[in-house]
Symmetry: C2
Subunit: 226 residues, 2 copies
Amino acid sequence: MLALSTYVSALLGGLTKLCENHPMSDDKNSYHHGDLRNALLQAAAQQIREQGVDKLSLRAVARAAGVSATAPYRHFEDKNRLLVALAVEGYQQLREETAAAVDPTQSAAEGLIAVGLAYIEFALRRPERYKLIFGPVIHERQAYPELQESGFAALQVVVALAERGIASDEFVDTDPFLIANSCWAKVHGIASLAIDGFYDCAPIPSQQQFFRELLLLQLTGVVRSK
Amino acid sequence: MLALSTYVSALLGGLTKLCENHPMSDDKNSYHHGDLRNALLQAAAQQIREQGVDKLSLRAVARAAGVSATAPYRHFEDKNRLLVALAVEGYQQLREETAAAVDPTQSAAEGLIAVGLAYIEFALRRPERYKLIFGPVIHERQAYPELQESGFAALQVVVALAERGIASDEFVDTDPFLIANSCWAKVHGIASLAIDGFYDCAPIPSQQQFFRELLLLQLTGVVRSK
DNA sequence: GCTCCTATGTTTGCACTGTAAACATGCTAG
DNA sequence: CTAGCATGTTTACAGTGCAAACATAGGAGC
């Protein structure tokens, strides 16, 4: 009887190995999950994508991972910590996607436009993730240095472009950090306003084109050059 | 006696009209509060200011107003509705403060800078209110047209400046709506990033000066004019 | 090979939240 | 004076984040 139960549990263990499409996929049949931390992150990401970032509940995440309500606390001190981890992940994606948008054979100005559009596209494609990254969802951001670090890393893409533009005399000779922040702030503002639906009912023929013109204006300036 | 009480209550009615600083102060000693709606808004505003926007609880607001937990539902269908009301209020403040910053005798460009700085100052002085207005705190913004209306009203200050600049040949001849949005996005981006502490540990001598330079760059452009 | 430690789970419990439903109260119009 | 209605209250429920105590298994040391 004891032997039987052992056998059964082993059998079940084998079975779970076969019919795995949901995240665990380990030989662990019960209890120790194997890779819960990642499973939680993944479940949380999906939940955010589908239901919005402020509807995210730790308990629901745990439920989705097939685990008890307080299990996540073994891997994240806080709900906030989970969010921070997701945000850092988001910053990295953002950095990758914007970096991928710049073509070194193009001019620095074209590069800025491309990065800006990629940034906005990212924000509109993953609005909830974007809100998580920048919005006030995460409490006490300053308590998590990794957040600001990955933020700065994302900014670095733009700084590099600014440096290139200055070096090639394409841009005005200012602090590249200033130029980068100028562009970033602009793009961030556009993305936020777009997500919040400010451009939805505006009399705009094409959003894409509108964004491009906004970005161009950033480069050429508003004041008529005399 | 009946006549007297009527008289007294009329007198008090006249008085409340005069000496209104705190919300209640009515002849109503209990039950019907008098002006609960405003009291709730005020209490909520304070709570947001002091504890942060995402810590706001309707029950705590009710408690602060000295009223039962569900009383607010007689005045706001939702917690969200309360937040919307506060956000609209915030937009109006924002519009007033930015409008007050523009001096008609100045150039349009100087006006844009002044408005931008006033905007950023507003955001930094009332960060939680600002987060409420723009952040993802309010759900389904598009369901509340008054939100977008007051948002557009705030934008109108900038549009007017853009029109003035274009008319006086100070600015390039583009759609004023485009210029206004360009400036607004920029300023909004700066404010958001500043609130999120992105500039806190940056190597910046003076924040104020940094903001001014960022805004100036918006006007003059990044690309070297040939 | 046995035992204990520790990492990782679970259960239980608490204080709190938003909100629905039913009930109470008192101003006001008929 | 009274009926109705706006505005309160009480009660209840499902859901939340999290702390504390308990359970389990896999691996380190004997």
